[in-house]
Each structure stands twice: as structure tokens, then as C-alpha cells.
């Protein structure tokens, strides 16, 4: 028995939002009488963090502290229409709708403040800490709270905003496939290091190293959540998962988590991600959306690493020990390919484990 190490890579891009457009998102924002804001949406938080992304975008645009904004989603009686959380559209489409709504609310907020300060609204700026002041004259200021109170009880103004974002629907040419599919693309490159056991056919992912370009990162820890969890799912897709292991023969399907295989907490691989930010011209603050593509490069990178390790191309997912062993046999033995590069330049995050 021998264990063969190998290294493979893949690079990909991914479209953001529903192909061809035609997928609107709406947002409503209003303020309490003391300048605390509620964002009402019908977006769905599947764990990807839609609530927090919308909250940060709303706070940024309004110019108020993030603690002064809460997002309420999804209740069809209060949240306006949204297509839903799929196609990596949440951050991009809903983010832009929230910006539109927040700009409208901010416009009223500044007009109300201007009336109190007896200045022109165009001369006002927010400090992001709950104050509004005249540009270049921080002492001529009023709090967001006092402004909201004046708007509500004195001026009779609604500090509220509504927003929609829509990329108009486009058509597809039947003969050439010409179309306007998407306006923003994210990018990635991933390197997988694996070890293949030539007796059992088992693959161990030793480590993964990647670079993702995701437009503006709205919240780095949440991006990390997506990319780390997504890489785990990619590894799982590559090596284990399917309800039809002998597809297209539907037999032998797993019925539960004992039979449907996924890597457990003891099977995970150290992972390092570098994130690049090339803002999308039409994304919210340039944001794109990492939620879907984070698994995609892992599958081919592992397949290519397996080839590099033992010289077997597995062209049918998942890459099971059975397929690898059959491949080794067909080749008349393992055929390791040339080594690529040296040890990675990063270390797994050190964790202080008390003695």
C-alpha cells in the first residue's frame, strides 16, 4: 500500500443574479420617532446572512450606526415583493433596492435636519455615529434622534424610503444564443492538495488554497463563512455525495444520513482563502455575492489533484474509491504526475488549546 500526494487546480467565474435579469427586489425603510430604522423586506435568510448584509448596506447608506437599523424579513403583509434568495442575487439585487430605499429616507432625514439647522440640505453630511452636521463645520450639528423627533412631531414629515432594483428582462436569440445574461461576475482560483491511497482508493484532502474575487466585501467574516462552508460542500460533492451512485441506474440510493455520505468534522481540510475586491460597477457598494460559487472550483481541483497523484482521470462525479481503483487497474498501476510547486506559504490558524 502506498499513499500518493498530488496537487490540482481550477479557475472559474460565476454570474451574479438571475440570468437575463427580470428579477426585481423591493425594500421599504422607515424610522421610529427617535431615529431608529426598520428595513422591511421579503428576502430570505437561508443562513447566508441576508439580514445582516441588508442591515449594513442600509446603515451605510443612511449614514447611521449599524445598531440603529434592524431588518425585518420575510412577512408578505409587510415586506414588499422580492424574487427570492437564489441565483446569488440577494446581495446584488436586494442590496441595490435597500440602497435606493435608504437614499430616499436619507433625503428626508437631511431635509428635516436642514429645516432645524436653517441651512441647505445639500450642505449636510452624516458622521455615521448618529449626528448630522454642516460640511466642514462639525459644531453646527443635530442628532439623528432630534431630527427624527422634529420630523415626526413638528414638521409632519415621514422619514421613510422605498426602493426597487430591476435589471430589465432581456431576450435570447434562438440560433446564436446571443443574450444579455448578467452584469456582474465573480472569480476564483483554487488549489487542492490530496493524498490517494492506492490500495483503498480513498482520497484525503490535505489542504486547499484559494483566491476569490467577489467585488466589495460587505462583511469579511460572513464572506469567510460562505467560502469555508462552501469549500466543505465542494469537497463533499467531489468525493462523496449522490443519491444515485450508479446513475443513470437509479438503484442503490441512500435513504438517510448513514448512507448519504458527507465529510464529518474530523474529515475537514485546512483551508486558506485570499479575497480580492474588484467592485462591480452596478453592485451595492460594488458587492457581488459569494454564496453559490464557493463550491464550484473545488470539484475540478480535486479531480485534477487525483490525476496528479495517481494518473487516473475520473470524469464522473463523485470521485469514489471504486472509480479510482478501477482507473489504477486500467492503467496497469499508479502513474504519478510531475510535482507542482512546494509547501504552501500559509499555516492553519493556530488555536490556543490550554494544557
Amino acid at each position: 500500500m502506498a499513499r500518493h500526494e498530488g496537487r490540482g487546480m481550477a479557475s472559474v467565474n460565476y454570474p451574479i443574479g438571475m440570468n437575463l435579469g427580470g428579477d426585481p427586489s423591493q425594500a421599504l425603510i422607515h424610522s421610529n420617532p427617535d431615529g431608529k430604522f426598520t428595513v422591511a423586506l421579503s428576502a430570505i435568510d437561508l443562513g447566508q446572512g441576508m439580514k445582516q448584509v441588508s442591515r449594513q448596506i442600509a446603515a451605510e447608506t443612511l449614514g447611521v450606526p449599524v445598531e440603529d437599523v434592524y431588518v425585518d424579513t420575510a412577512d408578505s403583509d409587510t415586506g414588499p415583493h422580492d424574487m427570492g434568495s437564489f441565483a446569488s442575487r440577494g446581495t446584488h439585487r436586494m442590496g441595490n433596492a435597500v440602497i435606493a430605499a435608504a437614499r430616499e429616507a436619507r433625503g428626508v432625514l437631511l431635509e428635516a435636519a436642514a429645516e432645524e439647522l436653517e441651512v441647505n440640505a445639500a450642505d449636510l453630511v452624516t458622521d455615521g455615529r448618529g449626528n448630522i452636521h454642516v460640511r466642514g463645520a462639525p459644531t453646527r450639528s443635530i442628532t439623528v434622534k432630534a431630527t427624527a423627533q422634529a420630523a415626526q412631531f413638528k414638521q409632519g414629515r415621514t422619514i421613510a424610503g422605498r426602493g426597487i432594483f430591476l435589471l430589465p428582462l432581456s431576450a435570447v436569440d434562438a440560433e446564436t444564443g446571443e443574450m444579455n445574461p448578467n452584469t456582474a461576475f465573480a472569480h476564483a482560483c483554487l488549489v487542492a492538495d490530496v493524498a490517494v491511497d492506492d490500495e483503498t482508493g480513498e482520497v484525503t484532502v490535505l489542504r486547499m488554497t484559494s483566491a476569490y474575487e467577489l467585488g466589495r466585501v460587505i462583511n469579511p467574516r460572513m464572506v469567510e463563512q460562505q467560502l469555508v462552508g462552501g469549500a466543505w460542500m465542494g469537497m463533499s460533492h467531489a468525493l462523496y455525495e449522490t443519491p444515485e451512485p450508479y446513475y443513470p441506474d437509479p438503484a442503490h440510493g441512500p435513504r438517510d444520513f448513514n448512507e448519504y455520505l458527507m465529510p464529518g468534522p474530523g474529515d475537514i481540510a485546512p483551508y486558506h482563502v485570499t479575497v480580492l475586491e474588484r467592485p462591480a460597477p452596478d453592485g451595492p457598494f460594488g458587492g457581488k455575492g459569494p454564496g453559490e460559487m464557493c463550491a464550484n472550483p473545488v470539484l475540478p481541483a480535486i479531480a485534477n489533484a487525483v490525476y496528479n497523484a495517481v494518473g487516473v482521470r475520473v470524469d464522473e462525479l463523485p470521485i469514489t474509491p471504486e472509480k479510482i481503483l478501477r482507473g489504477i487497474k486500467a492503467n496497469g498501476g499508479v502513474r504519478p504526475q510531475p510535482r507542482r510547486g512546494g509547501a504552501v506559504t500559509w499555516r492553519p490558524r493556530d488555536v490556543a488549546v490550554p494544557a
Binding site: 469567510e224 469555508v228 444520513f257 475537514i268
Partner: protein
């Protein structure tokens, strides 16, 4: 079928209800007693989202008969915080962004709580072992492992 009375202590409070003889504790907690912390993920003992403590031991509520818990102390993730004060595991899960959808979180916290009660300074391997019956489809486990290790290092982690 006749219902049977069950009295148990749930997160420190005495509770009583009637159950079907074959009713799993999970159904009793959720539909009978209104504690929605333990979740249904499989009903087959394969995912861990229903994990609770029965007299301090981690149990899968979907496979535990409610009648078998008569007179015993059942603890769920709802009882982990001390009133408004969060348990170190909870603050560590927050600090490590160790939840995404949050559906596995109550079960993970409960499994981790049982681990730290027995083994206040676990190794990474012991943490992995302790949560190996708990499936998470979102996080890739790494943040959860880091959070539990960090909680073990924090003061007050053994608070049961």
C-alpha cells in the same frame, strides 16, 4: 391509545404533560411543552439537531421515549444562558461566527456543553469526537470546532 402522564424537570422548571406511549421526547418537548430549541432533522438518530441532556448526558430526543424521561432532568439549549447572561459557549459561537442558518446550533451547543462538563480542556480531536454525531450543512465545522476550543479556554465554561 390512552395517554400517559409524564413529569419532568425542563431546564430547571417542573413540567407535566400527557404523552402517547410511543411518543419521542422530541415531539413532547416541541409540541407538548413548547420548547422549540431541539429541532427535527431526521427522526432517525443520524443528525444530532435534536440533542438534549437527560440527567446531564447527551441524548437524541428523537430516539428517546418521552415516558422514559419521567422524573428526570431534561436540559435543552433554551436553558443554556443564565437568564440574560450567555454561557461561554454561546459567546464563543458568536465570536467565531459559528452559525449560519442556525438550525444545527442548539444541538451543537448541547453536545459541546456535555463535552465540557466532563472534559473541561478537550483537545481538538476530543471536540471533533464530541460533535461527530451532529451534522452541519453550512459552516464546514471549522468555526464550530474553534468556538468550542475557545469556550473551553474561557472562564466559567464548566458552568453546567
Amino acid at each position: 391509545m390512552a395517554k400517559l402522564p409524564v413529569q419532568l424537570r425542563l431546564n430547571g422548571a417542573d413540567r407535566a404533560t400527557f404523552v402517547d406511549p410511543a411518543e419521542p421526547l422530541l415531539t413532547t418537548l416541541r409540541r407538548g411543552l413548547g420548547d422549540f430549541a431541539p429541532k427535527y432533522g431526521c427522526g432517525q438518530g443520524t443528525c444530532g439537531v435534536c440533542t438534549v441532556l437527560v440527567d446531564g448526558e447527551p441524548q437524541l430526543a428523537c430516539l428517546t421515549l418521552a415516558v422514559a424521561c419521567d422524573g428526570r432532568h431534561v436540559e435543552t439549549a433554551s436553558g443554556l444562558a443564565d437568564g440574560p447572561d450567555m454561557h461561554p459557549l454561546q459567546t464563543a459561537f458568536m465570536a467565531h461566527f459559528a452559525a449560519q442558518c442556525g438550525f444545527c446550533t442548539p444541538g451543537m451547543l448541547t453536545a459541546a456543553r456535555a463535552l465540557l462538563a466532563h472534559n473541561p480542556h478537550p483537545t481538538r480531536e476530543e471536540v471533533v469526537e464530541a460533535i461527530s454525531g451532529n451534522i452541519c450543512r453550512c459552516t464546514g465545522y471549522e468555526p464550530i470546532i474553534l468556538a468550542i476550543l475557545a469556550a473551553a479556554a474561557a472562564p466559567g465554561a464548566r458552568r453546567a
